[in-house]
């Protein structure tokens, strides 16, 4: 990888995003990323890098290049419309205290 003579750095192995299920019953959660030559190596590296203390029972790896993400510049258009719709939350509705089981 490194070239002490100062030549152009070679291309990295593909980047993978790592998702770990910490125990059964829970969803896989993003924990970080790593480089690997292929998917199998990515799983093996994820095991060494992210589960040294029994952090997981299952690993997903996904090539970072395959993830489609929303653009931060669109955040307003995407998420602002929900801001004034507080009636979607149960606390919006005033119910007398004596009414139970609501």
């Amino acid at each position: 990888m490194g070239d002490p003579s100062g030549g152009a750095a070679p291309a990295d192995w593909p980047l993978y995003e790592v998702f770990i299920r910490s125990r059964s019953g829970l969803e896989h959660k993003h924990v970080g990323s790593l480089h690997a030559a292929d998917a199998r190596m990515a799983v093996e590296h994820a095991r060494d890098v992210y589960t040294r203390r029994q952090e997981g029972v299952s690993i997903w790896v996904v090539r970072s290049a395959d993830i489609v993400a929303s653009d931060p510049a669109d955040a307003e258009a995407l998420f602002e419309p929900a801001r004034d719709k507080v009636y979607r939350h149960p606390t919006f509705y005033a119910i007398p205290d004596e009414v139970k089981n609501l």
Partner: protein
């Protein structure tokens, strides 16, 4: 592990003319304690400062594996050996978390490795000191990791999301490092006269370099103000150094060891321990490459890189043959 003096290397960040609008919005987000994520707009100087700091931190983790790795084959018991292997493996893992965080800012892993191997990048000068005895492994865990934790805990609240998240993970793992080091020191300090002397000798050699890990005094630290405004840094070098001294001196007293500073004293007025003057000429000499092990450390990294070249080539050829997919056996779920 951690790198000291992260703000003493490299170019001064130049605030470029990037338009007052985005810059003001950016600073307002920082001031509101919002986290900055990779795709968000950020000033170029913020990006460059973080790349420099995170990569120096990553390099320090990687080079930091060498002084302790030196003792794996000679650990005195199987328990100590298993612990030391786990600790050194953690340091490697910490380097991986940090390289990944740096890469989110637009620098490639290969570039970062090349900067380390060519000698262009800096890493913590503490790792340019040799580990002469087994007690040094104890002193590193106790003092060097102790100083590292002191430095790193505030970075868990750093304004840059990926760096902060990496640091949370690292801090969680790091506390065993310090405790195992103290346990080694305690065992030696309570052992035979020769073992006690060995522990004292290690403290004598590691105390001042550990104190210097916090970087130059505030008056001489170039980037502190800007890094504070950006919430990359939360406390000044001297504040963190003082915290470390205050917690560590009583630990040394418990061990029955003497801090190698004849002017060390408790100051009733400030309620802090006060240390004697720091010999910064040594710090800068080691930083410039003239420490006891600078050359040896880089040579070890280069040799490891060269020795692993055929493995990387084979892995790449294998991946190309299989189209990058895992062979049968792996499945979703």
């Amino acid at each position: 592990m951690y790198t000291q003096a992260l703000d003493t290397h490299g170019r001064e960040p130049v605030p470029a003319a990037e338009g007052a609008g985005p810059a003001a919005r950016f600073q307002a987000r920082i001031d509101a304690d919002e986290k900055i994520e990779p795709k968000d707009w950020m000033p170029e100087a913020y990006r460059q400062t973080l790349i420099r700091q995170i990569s120096q931190h990553a390099h320090s983790e990687i080079v930091g594996m060498l002084p302790e790795g030196n003792w794996i084959t000679r650990a005195p018991t199987l328990r100590r050996k298993a612990v030391l292997i786990a600790k050194v493996q953690d340091e490697g893992g910490h380097g991986m978390y940090l390289y990944s965080a740096a890469e989110t800012l637009g620098v490639s892993r290969a570039q970062l490795i090349e900067q380390l191997l060519s000698g262009a990048a800096k890493y913590s000068s503490i790792f340019n000191y040799p580990t002469l005895t087994w007690a040094d492994v104890g002193a590193i865990g106790w003092l060097v990791d102790g100083a590292a934790i002191m430095n790193q805990i505030p970075i868990c609240r750093c304004s840059y999301g990926p760096y902060a998240r990496a640091m949370v993970r690292i801090c969680k793992e790091e506390s065993f490092h310090q405790r195992q080091g103290f346990e080694i020191m305690l065992t030696l300090a309570q052992g035979s006269a020769a073992q006690h002397a060995m522990a004292q000798d290690a403290l004598n050699r590691w105390w001042w370099p550990s104190i210097m890990m916090f970087g130059p005094s505030d008056g001489d630290s170039r980037h502190t103000a800007q890094s504070m405004a950006w919430k990359i840094k939360r406390f000044s070098n001297d504040e963190l150094r003082q915290k470390f001294i205050d917690v560590t001196v009583p630990q040394a007293q418990f061990l029955g060891l003497t801090i190698p500073d004849p002017r060390l004293r408790w100051d009733e007025a400030t309620q802090h321990f006060q240390i004697g003057p720091i010999d910064w000429s040594e710090f800068y000499a080691v930083l410039k490459g003239n420490g006891p092990c600078n050359r040896e450390r880089l040579e070890a990294r280069r040799a490891a890189d060269a020795a692993g070249a055929w493995v990387r080539e084979a892995a790449a050829a294998y991946a190309a043959k299989h189209g990058g997919r895992a062979p049968a056996g792996a499945s979703h779920g």
